[in-house]
């Protein structure tokens, strides 16, 4: 199999160069930490509860591109699909802390959990208070505690950014962000694989006519392999799985995200959106806002994730609050 062509320079420079490019695209809003794969805001107000996000690289714009006004104060980047090391997390924690402590917000994966936990212990030893929130929105795994963080992470990060702007207590911010996290459910579908830039090889293989509903952002197993089906049938199955999980009910108001995993076209997502909206309307679920595009990718994987966030007045205000970051303005 031919290597997938990537527009990159030397592999060891990959992540630092991505961050340098990001800083340049931020027009003075961000800086990269010296010798560490982390970016932080240049102007974090004193007394603010700091928000630090991060995880393996390769899912851009998640996480690193969501640093900015109204979003995260800093982000740490591991190598592609690999958890960041605790020293970098600790460096970034020190850099964003404004005396009120730091929220660690990231996807629920073994490597990330362990490395962020170590950093939290190191930070505690330096008297920096840390609260950890793990995003676990993927409905595929039965146990909530074991669930993975996928596309819905964007909604949690968006709300967390607004929460940390209006709250001055670390504990209160953490509680509100936990509420936001608990309000999101997602499911993904993979249509074809993305590749690791290090090797140029696809991270999994699907048959010519196969898709996998529920497959995770790195190719983790989903619900089942199926034959390619119509957009309508796929929308129906995925919506059903997500709605049943929280569950979402008649009268609920939601935010709806269709997240492009990489190579799927906007045409396809809009066709899916049409059917999802029909189904939600039939269920009496109102859609307050739609977010359709690449928010949390998996290299050039084809496929998408569908997320619903159950809204209340606070979550609506936080979702709709203005932000400015290199990847997202509103």
């Amino acid at each position: 199999m031919a290597r997938v062509k990537k527009i990159i320079n030397a592999i060891p420079d990959l992540v630092p160069e991505v961050l340098e490019g990001l800083v340049l695209a931020s027009h003075g809003d961000l800086r990269k930490l010296d010798g560490a794969d982390a970016v932080v805001r240049n102007h974090i107000p004193d007394g603010k509860v700091a928000l630090l996000i991060g995880g393996g690289s390769g899912h851009e714009p998640m996480y690193t591109c969501y640093v900015g006004k109204g979003l995260a104060d800093g982000s740490v980047a591991g190598n592609v699909f690999a958890a960041p090391t605790p020293d970098i997390v600790l460096d970034a924690t020190r850099a964003v802390n404004r005396g009120k402590g730091v929220i660690f917000l990231y996807g629920n994966y073994a490597g990330d959990n362990m490395n962020f936990d170590i950093a939290a212990e190191l930070a505690a030893a330096e008297d920096i208070a840390v609260e950890t929130i793990r995003i676990a929105d993927d409905v595929v795994t039965p146990e909530r505690r074991e669930r993975r963080g996928i596309g819905g992470a964007f909604y949690v990060v968006k709300c967390a950014g607004a929460i940390c702007d209006e709250t001055t207590s670390l504990a209160e911010a953490a509680e509100l962000i936990r509420h936001a996290e608990a309000s999101v459910r997602s499911i993904g579908v993979a249509v074809s694989a993305g590749s690791l830039p290090q090797t140029g090889m696809p991270t999994f293989v699907l048959g010519d006519d196969e898709i996998e509903i529920g497959m995770g952002a790195h190719g983790e197993p989903g619900v089942e392999r199926r034959n390619l089906m119509s957009a309508n049938a796929l929308a129906e199955e995925m919506t059903r799985l997500v709605v049943a999980d929280l569950p979402f009910r008649t009268g609920d108001e939601v935010a709806l995200m269709l997240n492009n995993l990489g190579a799927t076209t906007m045409m396809e997502l809009l066709i899916v959106n049409r059917r999802v909206r029909q189904i939600l309307a039939d269920l009496g679920i109102r859609v307050h806002r739609s977010d359709i595009g690449p928010f949390f990718t998996s290299q050039e994987m084809a496929g998408f994730s569908l997320s619903l966030m159950k809204l209340d007045a606070n979550l609506k205000r936080w979702l709709d609050a203005p932000v400015r970051s290199p990847a997202y303005r509103q």
Partner: protein, 201 residues
């Protein structure tokens, strides 16, 4: 063994791990995301440097130095796992002599640290499946060298046995049933580490 002797053995462990990068890469490509060799190389080369420069006053010090460097530099799940393992081992080793009992105790504390950190258990197809039999084998021995050799042999057998297991933790979970037939990369690493530690070089 004196602190300096422990340090010498751990430097040999670093060399052995650095020499195994390709083998570990291939093992992780087969059932994971292919980055275990790179991560371990990053961690153990940082560890090598730290060991060469930091003082070793107790027999635990070199374990702690090694563990912290891996914790900080390796990345991924295995950075946290192996880093915690070595810093855990250092805990009971506050003295200036390492004996068989101390070695076995240290392995047990290393195991406890890994489990506290990652929550995996025997049979999950991780480095624990090499470590747990290694502890059992060391336990019977009264001579340090014999304990180390027994641990190394048991770890190698344990690592080989992971080929029949299905991954349930970490990235190798990616493959589920598809992981069967391949040894766990982290278990291979642990067997390499214990073999090098047992080598009277």
């Amino acid at each position: 063994m004196t602190p300096e002797q422990v340090k010498a053995r751990l430097l040999a462990v670093c060399d052995a791990m650095l020499a195994s990068e390709e083998r570990l890469t291939r093992a992780d490509q087969a059932i994971g995301d292919g980055d275990h060799g790179v991560g371990m190389a990053r961690g153990f080369s940082a560890a090598r440097e730290a060991l060469s420069t930091k003082p070793a006053n107790t027999v635990g010090d070199p374990f702690k130095t090694l563990g912290l460097a891996i914790l900080m530099k390796a990345g991924g799940a295995s950075g946290a796992v192996f880093g915690s393992f070595f810093t855990g081992m250092a805990k009971p080793l506050g003295g200036t002599v390492l004996d068989a009992a101390g070695f076995t105790e240290a392995l047990k504390d290393g195991l406890a640290a890994v489990q506290a950190r990652g929550g995996a258990k025997a049979g999950d197809k991780t480095m624990l499946d090499a470590l747990i039999p290694a502890i059992a084998a060391a336990e019977g021995e009264t001579d340090l060298q014999a304990a180390m050799s027994a641990a190394a042999a048991a770890a190698e057998a344990g690592a080989a046995a992971t080929a029949n297991m299905i991954a349930t933790t970490g990235k190798a979970k990616t493959l589920g049933e598809r992981s069967r037939g391949h040894m766990d990369p982290g278990a291979i690493s642990l067997s390499i580490i214990l073999a090098a530690l047992a080598t009277d070089g």
